[in-house]
């Protein structure tokens, strides 16, 4: 099939090429040099705010999981959250009313709200948004969060009524989801609609352009119901690599960027920048499955909990950007139970005392054993996550000091998932909004062994009752009591060894005013980052 060689003589008309080659190279270099002119700085006063992040949304449609917790810049929910994460009315005129039996929630819409295309917001748009989430044909993972919602209706153009299958105390927290205009989807498949790339909302910014992998350009919505934004627009640059993002921040391209703690430190002493370490509800911990013969023993779990040096992990692994964790409810939450907080530093004496009392005696190699079984287990972590790897190694070192042998193993998620019932795993998640959101499924015995819900099959009647009471009761005091019980029982049973809460670190230029960090959840990118209130930021020269 290839070319065939035949005999022949080389004709000579190549001489002209010998002249052409260098000339061509010269042209290429000239073009390159001509293109090279100094980079203009984006720091001009009054220009758009330029922010950079690694995480890029797959779509900009709230129905398909864009900014479900609000602060999505382009959209508004019925409710929003203020700087202390307290619910405030947004598209709803006041916070929606919950009926006495907790099963009917009524919202009255704010008047005169317009979508970016000029069409007025009506109750039908809200109904469409929530029905789309519930529609099985729509590829939305939010359906799982709204599994208590039976139906949603619009008795008149400014009233929306949600009917729940059962009373659900934190339901209003679920209403921060952005509202989309029903008309934009007329006759279209929500999964494939043009809207997902060219969104239309009611929020402080309307989309100008989105080049996936490069940047999202937003322009101020001058008719915003909450007041005209204080800047003409926002540009979100998507830069996946941490080092490159840090370099470009240093080159002056961004007004604010999220950076890993160790790269942010470099900006600490540098003039013109400020490093914000924002508290989060994003915890990391070791899930200890009850199906493991060693970890099934309460003494081993308690000893591990006492042996880990959380303070050293915060300083060493997180570069100071974090705080010790003792439970799944962050200290910033009104539901946090102070009594579960232990010592930030390790307490090896207490840990060895627990193991001695339970009959785990050290062998010749320093590893404890009981009735012929060695105190040893495997600790899995996702191999690509360097933070979880370092935490796993820290746990391994701390456990070794009290005579427990841990073998850390970096694996892919598909290798981890089938082993979660018997092997320990470094896990992490967390939301600051309501303790029910994650904990109900993560620690409820009804969800034991169901994928990522309670993978270690932890079972406690006390915890089940407390979690149920927490979602059933509308009374804040009763809820606080229920979650206090829950946290104390968790601290006694130790199904997880909670290690640290992370802090998200951002570098912000001093020319930006109005930055108000608030406690952040695990998920944050365009929506819900430090720039949650960017529409009030101003830039000075």
């Amino acid at each position: 099939m290839g070319p065939k060689r035949t005999d022949g003589i080389s004709p000579d008309h190549v001489t002209s090429r010998s002249v052409r080659l260098p000339a061509l190279l010269g042209i290429v270099l000239l073009v390159a040099a001509g293109c090279a002119s100094p980079t203009p700085s984006t720091g001009s006063a009054g220009g758009p705010v330029v922010v950079a992040t690694a995480g890029e949304p797959d779509t900009l449609n709230p129905v398909l999981n864009y900014g479900p917790d609000g602060a999505s810049l382009i959209f508004d929910g019925l409710v929003a959250r203020d700087a202390r994460n307290q619910l405030v009315p947004a598209l709803a005129r006041e916070l929606p009313q919950v009926s006495a039996d907790g099963r009917t929630v009524t919202a009255t819409l704010r008047e005169g709200v317009l979508f970016h295309n000029g069409s007025p917001l009506t109750a039908q748009d809200v109904v469409f948004t929530y029905q789309a989430v519930l529609d099985p044909k729509v590829d939305s993972t939010l359906r799982s969060d709204l599994d208590m919602l039976a139906s949603v209706a619009a008795p008149d153009p400014s009233t929306v009524v949600f009917t729940l299958k059962h009373a659900y105390a934190p339901f209003l927290q679920r209403l921060a989801l952005g509202v989309v205009p029903a008309k934009a989807f007329a006759g279209q498949d929500v999964n494939k609609a043009e809207f997902n790339r060219r969104p239309i909302g009611t929020g402080p910014y309307r989309m100008t352009s989105w080049t996936p992998g490069d940047r999202l350009v937003l322009a101020a919505n001058d008719r915003y119901w909450g007041g005209k934004p204080a800047n003409p627009g926002v540009v979100v640059a998507f830069v996946a690599d941490d080092n490159v993002r840090a370099q470009r921040m240093r080159a002056g391209e961004f007004d604010a960027a999220e950076l890993p703690p160790k790269l942010a430190v470099g900006f600490d002493g540098q003039g013109g920048h400020r490093v914000h370490r924002v508290p989060t509800a994003d915890y990391r911990g070791v899930m200890l499955p009850t199906g493991n013969p060693v970890l099934g023993d309460l003494a081993v779990r308690r000893a591990l909990n006492a042996a880990v040096d959380r303070q050293a992990m915060v300083t060493g692994v997180l570069g100071g950007a974090g705080e010790p964790a003792f439970g799944p409810v962050p200290p910033s939450s009104e539901f946090a139970e102070a009594s579960v907080a232990g010592r930030p530093a390790a307490d090896p004496a207490a840990a060895t005392a627990i193991l001695d009392a339970a009959g785990w005696t050290p062998g010749a190699d320093g590893i404890r054993a009981r009735a012929g079984r060695k105190a040893a287990f495997t600790l899995m972590y996702p191999a690509t996550d360097s933070l979880r790897k370092e935490l796993a190694l820290a746990v391994t070192a701390d456990a070794r000091k009290i005579g427990i042998a841990v073998s850390p193993q970096g694996l892919t998620w598909d290798a981890i998932t089938p082993r979660m019932k018997t092997d320990a795993l470094i896990m992490g998640y967390g939301t600051p909004y309501d303790p029910d959101f994650v904990s109900f499924k993560l620690f409820g015995s009804a969800f034991a062994g169901q994928g990522f819900f309670n993978p270690g099959s932890y079972r406690s009647a006390t915890v089940d009752a407390a979690l149920q009471a927490g979602r059933d009761s509308a009374d804040p005091a009763a809820r606080r009591a229920a979650y206090a019980t829950f946290q104390r029982q968790l601290a006694a049973d130790v199904p997880w060894v909670f290690l640290t809460y992370l802090q998200h670190t951002y570098v912000v230029r001093d020319t930006v005013a109005g930055v108000t960090p608030r406690v952040e959840p695990h998920e944050h990118d365009v929506a819900n980052s430090i720039w949650w209130n960017v529409h009030t930021w101003t830039k000075t020269p």
């Binding site: 070319p3 073009v31 293109c35 100094p38 984006t42 590829d139 799982s144 959101f437």
Partner: protein, 341 residues
């Protein structure tokens, strides 16, 4: 198969040399069909063997709060649990209608992913390749002419040094020098972040560093090859004969020695193309360019086989085309090579 020689004139030589090209192209197209079919089937077989759940990948961090029914519903919507032959038949059927399928990782049609991104990757690879070819032929030939001289030694040292540097590292170093220290060129992106449109001059300015880094990282191989090949052919009989006839050194070097040396070089370019594409993926990451690189990685991690199949097919087409172009180039450059028999 024989072709009659065209009647008259200087173009005669050249035309006869590419005679039969049409047949070769047709034959190659026939071969391309089974190759592409086998490649795409391989992709789907890999997809069936992969333990990755595309629904869980799609959910991302929300997989933590998403119920199993919810995930099963997503898989049903996409038909990814159907038997492999059913999925493959559906994919081929859609392909024949010009529909490359639905990308689950990007959540948009595969055609729009390619339309938005393939152009930037092609531009990056194309310009870098042109730069590499020109620079390596020129530098390699000059080094070979004074073999062992200071230029030759310096060039070889630099080439070996560059070859041992990871593309990633070169990229960050170049950003540190030209974007941070000197401030001449932007550190990344396709346009200025605050630009309102896609101005060609702006894009060109942003592509200078990525193209240069890709070219530099790929050049050593080519430069060293040209240098060795030219040095070798400078000792060939016909070159010595040309020199003995008293032809000027430059004519002998570029007209005789280089010309002979260029033939194997053409093959090298064809086989080296996939490596250039691989380098482009890394360069796109360092310079935050919206090319195919990042989405291909994302597609592989997210078990997004429609998108993977499309990018694999596109790469296969490019490689087959490059092979064909190499062979035709051979025929054009080497009179001993004939396509027509």
């Amino acid at each position: 198969m024989t072709t009659k020689a065209p009647p008259t004139g200087p173009p005669r030589v050249r035309r006869r040399r590419l005679a039969g090209a049409g047949v070769v192209i047709r034959r190659r197209l026939l071969v391309a069909v089974p190759v592409l079919a086998a490649t795409s089937m391989g992709m789907f077989a890999l997809g069936a063997a992969s333990p990755i759940d595309p629904a869980q990948q799609y959910a991302g961090a929300a997989a933590f709060t998403t119920t199993e029914e919810n995930l099963a519903q997503l898989r049903a919507n996409w038909g990814v649990d159907d038997p492999l032959p059913v999925q493959y038949a559906r994919w081929v059927g859609n392909l024949l209608r010009g529909d490359l399928g639905w990308s689950t990782s990007r959540h948009e049609p595969v055609t729009s992913v390619l339309a938005a991104r393939a152009g930037w990757t092609l531009l990056l690879v194309g310009v870098a390749l042109a730069l590499v070819l020109v620079a390596s032929v020129l530098l390699g030939t000059l080094a070979a002419y004074r073999r062992g001289g200071w230029f030759d030694r310096a060039l070889r040292s630099v080439a070996y040094a560059v070859q041992s540097m990871p593309v990633f590292w070169i990229g960050l170093a170049v950003i540190a020098l030209f974007a941070l220290t000197l401030g001449w060129l932007p550190a990344g992106g396709l346009t200025d972040l605050t630009a309102t449109g896609t101005d060609p001059a702006d894009v060109a300015r942003h592509l200078v560093l990525p193209v240069t880094v890709l070219a530099i990282s790929q050049a050593p191989w080519f430069v060293l090859f040209v240098r060795d090949a030219v040095a070798e052919s400078l000792r060939d009989d016909h070159v010595l004969a040309a020199r003995a006839r008293g032809l000027p050194g430059r004519t002998v070097l570029f007209g005789h020695a280089l010309r002979t040396a260029l033939l194997p070089f053409l093959t090298l370019v064809g086989t080296h193309l996939p490596e250039l594409v691989g380098g482009a993926v890394l360069v796109e990451t360092v310079f935050s360019l919206p090319g195919l690189g990042a989405v291909t990685v994302q597609a592989a991690l997210g078990a997004d086989f429609p998108l993977l199949a499309a990018t694999t097919l596109a790469t296969t087409v490019v490689v087959l085309t490059a092979n064909l172009a190499t062979d035709l180039g051979y025929a054009a450059a080497d009179p001993r090579v004939r396509l027509d028999d």
